[in-house]
Amino acid sequence: MIIILFGIFLLALLVITALAIVRSDNLFAAVILTGIFSLLMAANFFLLDAADVALTEAAIGAGISTVLFLGALALTGEHERGGSQNRLVALGVVTVTTLIVIYATFDKPRFGDPDAPVHQHVGSWYLEKTPELVDIPNAVTAVLGSFRGYDTLGEVFVVLTAGIGVLFLLSARTAGRPEEFPVADDPDQGLRHYLVPRVVGRMLIPFIFLFGLYVQFHGDYGPGGGFQAGAIVAASVILYALLEGEARALRALPMRVLKWLVAGGALLYGGVGVASMLLGSNFLDYSVLASDPITGQHIGIILIELGVGITVTGVLLCVFHAFAARGRV
């Protein structure tokens, strides 16, 4: 009961933050408040006992999104220009939509009700069959990786397409040299002269990377998986790029490697599907990947999560470099 009160308190803070984001005209402040918003959402998801979603929100929303927004702000101005004139029409549309949504919530089942439709049918089937067919403790990973493998394949391709789209839009300046972004090897780049952040940051980078690998492979047993791990590994490389400068980060992981990572992850995922077809069963049916169907499921889930993690890392790093390298001549 008291947990519900905590949840209501956090939701109230969320509404206040959202209003502040909309009303502020200094975009820098709006970016920082968006980081706080994302933290509140992660705490809310956590209180609702959805650990995988909370982990993804924390890794991507509060860490990487803030850095990408700041990179975009470095290229544009800091203050929002005046709003449009048609405020009343927009207010009317929003009010009508809100009233419709509130009316729709009157028919919702009670929070946590075991007879709710969402807990019948497929949901309970997945929970029953996971120990028998897939046998991993984290049912979310079983559903995401095995029972709904097609959906996750679609998600990986969406991430890949988003990365390709960003590279098309933001690489227009390097039309003559498609391989490298024009980055000068300036010795003053990055935070090299600020010793305290630099030393502590460099100490932390291998731990963040290692933790990303832990989250990747531990996704079967606890909250984790490919999306979260990709974001965490990308965060460690972004930290390196912030501390040592763009040029060194691009020398460590050049764009051609990143492009291979972006495509390679999706290729791995599709490859697992094709391999299971070649071994005589349907596309993405992992039971044929080993002599024992349950071991086959484990192998299949680990491989596709690895594919997801590789693509997400590559896309996030490509987007970061596309923003961060554009400001410099």
Partner: protein, 109 residues
């Protein structure tokens, strides 16, 4: 024995909660950015040590204690560094403390 551990962790958790609350109050009521930074970062770190220490006593000798020790270690490393970086950024963009002008320091050639 478990009674002693319970009492000790109660004391640590309550002290940690008080520090955390004092930190929030200080960040709100102090007059200047730099004084607010004092309040926020010192009480952050101390409160984290006490609260996480209290929970570690409750967890006993399991994997959770090691994870909590890792969280504590990373908080101890990153929280003061973040305040340092924030102060460097503030001085770099010209916001001077009241006591007297400070050159854009923190930068060692």
């Amino acid at each position: 024995m478990t009674m002693a551990i319970d009492i000790l962790s109660w004391i640590l958790l309550t002290a940690g909660g008080m520090f955390v609350f004092i930190g929030g109050l200080g960040a709100l009521r102090m007059p200047n950015l730099y004084t607010r930074m004092h309040a926020a970062s010192l009480t952050d770190t101390m409160g984290a040590v006490l609260v996480l220490g209290g929970i570690m006593l409750q967890a006993g000798a399991t994997l959770a204690t090691i994870k909590l020790a890792a969280i504590l270690l990373f908080l101890l490393l990153t929280s003061p560094t973040a305040s340092n970086a924030l102060a460097s950024a503030a001085i770099l963009s010209g916001l001077q403390p009241k006591e007297g002008p400070v050159k854009p320091g923190g930068r060692t050639e």
